[in-house]
């Protein structure tokens, strides 16, 4: 049966929009390549910003000012204003559906300081904030009886044309369990598939599933994608495993130390600055550590229980008595699908929200605590906009061609003789990106990475499957994910090469200053000769 709103992705952004669309009275269907509670959102630890001022003086205005400062001129002021003004409503709504936020002694939602914030603003649930928010949203979806289909992998969006204008009317997916291509027709589609930081492979805090599938499919369907060169490096991931240690550890007073035990930077500056300071030290040959020993066992167990567990498990050290070895790795991608003020893309009926979308609220560098906030505030907005659109939708839907194209695509992959091992290439891509498109880049490093990408792309006709079975073939889904990441890698690189300046997370060693000429968004388009960049307001 056709739905009114089809949502691809069941992380925080997908589930909030599902709840809001359902409440608008339309038929909602959610599709995920995993299960809802396995999404990247579970890994958000630090908190969600809202200027309640429960711990000390705070205001919406300072939240806006901090966000804009960190965005380095690339955020849209109206969008940021909307985000920050809606923040307290968003958190109160989460509280009303049962999120177990940590509390203060006077029974208010507790707040803590994250980098770049002038006040303790992040509401949290120990260091399990994302986990507890996502599970509560999932429970809310159960209460409302929202249909969620698990283990369906997005292939492409179904579009039809009217008066020479394309409009979306569903999506084709691979049912991972059966190996069959399925078409889901819908009056509107919301993309909520997350970011693309897994391009960096093991050099990322992200889940292995954060492969940017929705952004790549949106690009293929003709939607515009922007600001792809802005990739945030989280200053503190565990050195050996890239597992995230929350910024709240520094917010609570944790220090960054070099091999001599010396502090070398302001630990609570925005993430781009802290990551660069660490990078400078590491290039001098220093090992870098996070020190939270002085916070004491009681505090650590109360506020940072997950961090202690992760450090013990993956680094064999106890943060109560030991220094935590860390390094910065890719963590969050600011770029994404271009949307208007109703979260709609260039394609009618195709909406986007969460990390895959570019609502222009993070600009060149996202503030900690603003990503969970974004998915609630804009999830609500997009759920309502897509419902409004769907209610007025009256065009024909014909999914025959798209279904055939997707089936042919799967068959074509299965027909390729496997001469080149994509797992090896995936690792290569990650290492080249970490080294050449990392915390610092320059023209030479970027051009060299682009050359590598082009070489791998040229090998695609020889990259096939070693496992050709139908049922739950992850060799197949991982190959399609890899191909999506290759497409996005090119978009990141052409954007990074075109932006001949340094701004926020995009730091060019050959052009270390901001240049007003580039105080504008990088748009990339898919053309016959490849992906080309353009700048516009």
């Amino acid at each position: 049966m056709k739905s009114d709103v089809l949502i691809i992705g069941a992380g925080g952004a997908g589930l909030v929009s599902a709840i809001k669309a359902h409440e608008s009275g339309v038929k909602v269907r959610v599709i995920t390549k995993e299960y809802p509670t396995r999404a990247q959102t579970t890994m958000a630890q630090g908190g969600i910003n809202a200027s309640f001022g429960h711990m000390s003086e705070d205001s919406v205005e300072t939240h806006i000012a901090n966000t804009l400062k960190s965005a380095h001129g690339l955020a849209n002021e109206d969008s940021v204003k909307y985000l920050c003004e809606e923040a307290t409503n968003a958190v109160e709504w989460l509280d009303s559906i049962g999120v177990c936020f940590s509390r203060t002694a006077d029974s208010k939602i507790a707040q803590r300081t994250l980098g770049g914030a002038s006040a303790p603003r992040a509401c949290y649930a120990q260091d399990y904030t994302g986990l507890k928010i996502l599970h509560t949203l999932y429970d809310r979806c159960l209460a409302l009886g929202i249909e969620i289909l698990n283990e369906r992998y997005l292939l492409d969006f179904i579009t039809n044309t009217k008066d020479n204008k394309p409009y979306v009317c569903g999506a084709t997916v691979l049912n991972i369990r059966t190996g069959e291509v399925e078409s889901y027709e819908s009056s509107s589609v919301i993309i909520a598939t997350g970011g693309y930081a897994r391009i960096y492979d093991k050099n990322s805090t992200n889940s292995t599933s954060t492969t940017g599938d929705g952004i790549a499919a949106a690009m293929r369907t003709g939607a515009r994608v922007s600001d792809m060169e802005f990739v945030q490096f989280h200053p503190t991931a565990l050195k050996n495993s890239s597992v995230l240690i929350s910024e709240s550890a520094r917010g609570a007073g944790g220090y960054l130390l070099n091999s001599n035990g010396e502090r070398f930077t302001n630990e609570l500056a925005p993430r781009d600055e802290v990551a660069r300071a660490i990078d400078d030290e590491m290039k001098k040959g220093e090992d870098i550590f996070l020190d939270i020993r002085h916070l004491g066992e009681k505090f650590i167990d109360n506020e940072l229980p997950q961090e202690r567990k992760l450090a013990k498990l993956y680094e064999n050290i106890d943060p109560v008595t030991d220094l935590i070895p860390i390094k910065p790795v890719a963590h969050y991608t600011m770029g994404g699908i271009e949307v208007d003020s109703t979260s709609q893309t260039k394609i009618s009926g195709l909406f986007a929200v969460g990390e895959c979308a570019n609502h222009r609220v993070h600009g060149a560098n996202r503030l900690g605590g603003n990503s969970l906030l974004e998915l609630v505030v804009f999830g609500k907005l997009v759920g309502e906009s897509a419902s409004t659109y769907a209610k007025e939708f009256s065009s024909e839907i014909d999914s025959t061609t798209s279904h055939k194209d997707s089936s042919d695509f799967i068959e074509s992959i299965k027909g390729i003789e496997s001469e080149v091992d994509f797992y090896e290439k995936r690792e290569l891509l990650g290492d080249v990106f970490y080294k050449n498109v990392g915390i610092k880049r320059d023209e030479k490093s970027l051009e060299s990475a682009l050359k590598t990408i082009k070489e791998i792309q040229a090998q695609i006709p020889r990259i096939g499957l070693k496992d050709k079975s139908k049922i739950y073939n992850t060799n197949l889904t991982e190959l399609i994910e890899f191909r999506n990441m290759l497409e996005l890698s090119e978009a990141v690189l052409v954007s990074a090469i075109a932006r001949r300046e340094s701004r926020g997370a995009h730091y060019r060693e050959d052009m270390p200053n901001e240049d007003d000429k580039y105080k504008t968004h990088t748009i990339v388009k898919n053309t016959e000769s490849g992906i080309v960049p353009d700048f516009m307001e």
Binding site: Y423, E424, Y472
Partner: protein
């Protein structure tokens, strides 16, 4: 080290990784030795609940278990097998729906103290990995048992000060619910988040007793016999 994995047949792999998690071993096998091996994974940091499986007959998260020579790896129990180490969790998760694991009504002005929040802090740490579900022996006799993670979730909401209709939640778990548990504690032993569903079920039992419910396995007309006909004590 040698690792044996239960697939269609039991397959032995030799991997030279030191101090590695089982997930690292499985990823190594898939990307370097045998791409046809199938398992689920996600966060690699024990919070997404994807990579639960059994090692030497005990449930673990592959990402937080350090593999040892001779380990025998199997999929979870009590859930349909899809392929290799991947199981279908749909029906298991459906028990959350049946158990109504949500806040009944939106509360407009929730005021929770620090103590109120601590009541169900540990229950809200659940990652739905399904380890408890796999370890639970009740499923061999009652496939409709609401099960450990769903009942922990019910306790999470029943004990929440914002819940204003805990009575209907209690009413809903009397059949195929709290009284079907044998209190064997297997769920507690395998939980990666240190949650004890057994003790949550005990708390739900006392709450039920306060609401006037009695243990159907005791007294009554049927005599002192449990669901499987064996005497209950």
């Amino acid at each position: 080290m040698k690792i044996r994995i239960k697939r269609e047949k039991i397959v032995e792999y030799e991997v030279d990784l030191v101090d590695a998690t089982l997930l690292e071993i499985l990823t190594h096998i898939k990307t370097k030795q045998d791409p046809s091996l199938v398992f689920a994974s996600g966060c690699k940091s024990s919070v997404c609940g994807s990579c639960s499986m059994r090692v030497n007959s005990k449930e673990v998260l592959a990402c937080s278990y350090k593999a040892k020579d001779g380990d025998f790896v199997e999929p979870l129990k009590n859930v349909p097998l899809i392929r290799d180490l991947v199981v279908d969790m749909d029906k298991a998760y459906q028990f959350n729906f049946k158990a109504k694991t949500w806040l009944s009504k939106d509360s407009i002005t929730p005021v929770l103290s620090q103590d109120d929040e601590k009541i169900n802090e540990i229950q809200s740490d659940c990652i739905l990995c399904g380890s408890c579900f796999s370890a639970c022996p009740v499923y061999s006799v009652n496939e409709e048992f609401l099960g450990p993670f769903s009942l922990t979730r019910v306790w999470k909401y029943v004990s929440d000060k914002r819940e204003n209709d805990s009575k209907s939640k209690i009413d809903n778990i009397q059949t195929n619910g709290i009284w079907d548990c044998t209190l064997c504690n297997e769920c507690t032993m395998v939980c990666p988040q240190n949650i004890s569903s057994k003790s949550d079920i005990e708390k739900l039992r006392s709450k039920s007793a306060m609401a006037g419910y009695t243990d159907p396995n005791f007294g009554g007309f049927g005599g002192g016999f449990g669901f499987d006909g064996s005497p209950s004590f």
